[in-house]
Symmetry: C2
Subunit: 207 residues, 2 copies
């Protein structure tokens, strides 16, 4: 792959994929020729931000990437959008080479999907971190929870999260909830505990 | 296995395991003979609730159980506690027949562990349910998030949740956070979104 640092040196290509930060996409679009086919990879930015290019689209791999951790790319859903049939055909060809799961999702739906992804990825991961942090402070090995974490995920994906819900909040076991709250010294963690317990209760009541 | 419904018909045994609801344990202990060896299976109730029995203990399998879903029992950590060496030896023998992971955990530590388990199990599962519910209302297939959920778990267990944290809150990307908040019509979900986003930010600042 040739690296360039000057957009004027950009070589001719059938497709340009702007895999850059959300806020930089509009600016890049303005600096590039009108007649290229340009797509971005953002989950939250609409396709219209590329309005300078008549052939535009979105190529959004629905996964969270971290340095030093490889992912199985063929399992990642790739969400495509374009204003142009020819561009869409091109995007589909590229997407199918990378993944077995290729879907068409428009900009408003992609934003909803990204929101859903934040709940199941960023927020659950943060709960893992909060739990690990709490247990570390108490001298308890977090590894003891690894089988539970694996099982929770497996169960939610097989029987569904609604059926898989267990625990003191679901049961309305206020004694245990109070015992837990008494353990928490961090005010924000206490708020999280109470709010999520409330939400679990409301969610099961509305079934 | 013989079933009885009258405690007077209880047969002689080396070990009695009370796998019953937390609130019923103390009462059962009072109704059983003093000279038996009795343990309970609760994560949150102290061993002392069995004070009538001189040989007492706890046999706590650290897993969440659901009807219609089998678990691999040999992977479940079994946390043991006893006031009596002989009873502990017996508990270890039974535990090692069921699982490869047997640990000694006292009552206060077991309660901490149970709290940590609620964060990584009940709360993450509830976030899956909230996400699924939101996307269902928008006509989006939740299955698209399955690979992300699997990857989030795998990554947290390999590189650790702190290193695995990504997303708008971690990046301080307020535009995306605002776009998400604008999607949320449920007031409690909005509170959860804001509180967990704040907590992620505070957590990364304190590193």
């Amino acid at each position: 792959m040739d690296l360039i640092s000057d957009l004027n040196q950009l070589k001719a290509a059938d497709l340009y994929i702007a895999a850059i930060s959300d806020d930089a996409i509009a600016d890049l679009s303005q600096k590039l020729p009108k007649d290229i086919c340009l797509v971005h990879t953002s989950g939250t930015v609409g396709m219209d931000v590329l309005s300078r290019q008549s052939k535009r689209g979105v190529f959004y791999p629905l996964q969270s990437f971290s340095k030093n951790h490889d992912v199985r790319f063929d399992q990642i859903p790739i969400c495509l959008e374009s204003n142009d049939t020819e561009t869409m055909t091109l995007l589909e060809q590229v997407a199918h080479k990378l993944s077995k799961k290729v879907v068409h999702i428009d900009s408003p739906q992609r934003l909803e999907l990204h929101f859903g992804a934040v709940l199941v990825n960023n927020f659950t991961n943060h709960l893992y971190a909060l739990s690990q942090n709490h247990l570390k402070n108490k001298g308890i090995n977090f590894d003891l929870l690894h089988p539970l974490i694996e099982e929770t995920t497996r169960k939610a994906l097989t029987i569904g999260a609604d059926s898989a819900q267990t625990g003191p909040a679901k049961r309305g076991d206020f004694k245990t909830i109070q015992r837990h709250v008494n353990l928490i010294t961090d005010q924000q963690l206490k708020e999280i505990y109470n709010l999520l317990s409330d939400s679990i209760r409301n969610h099961s009541k509305s079934k």
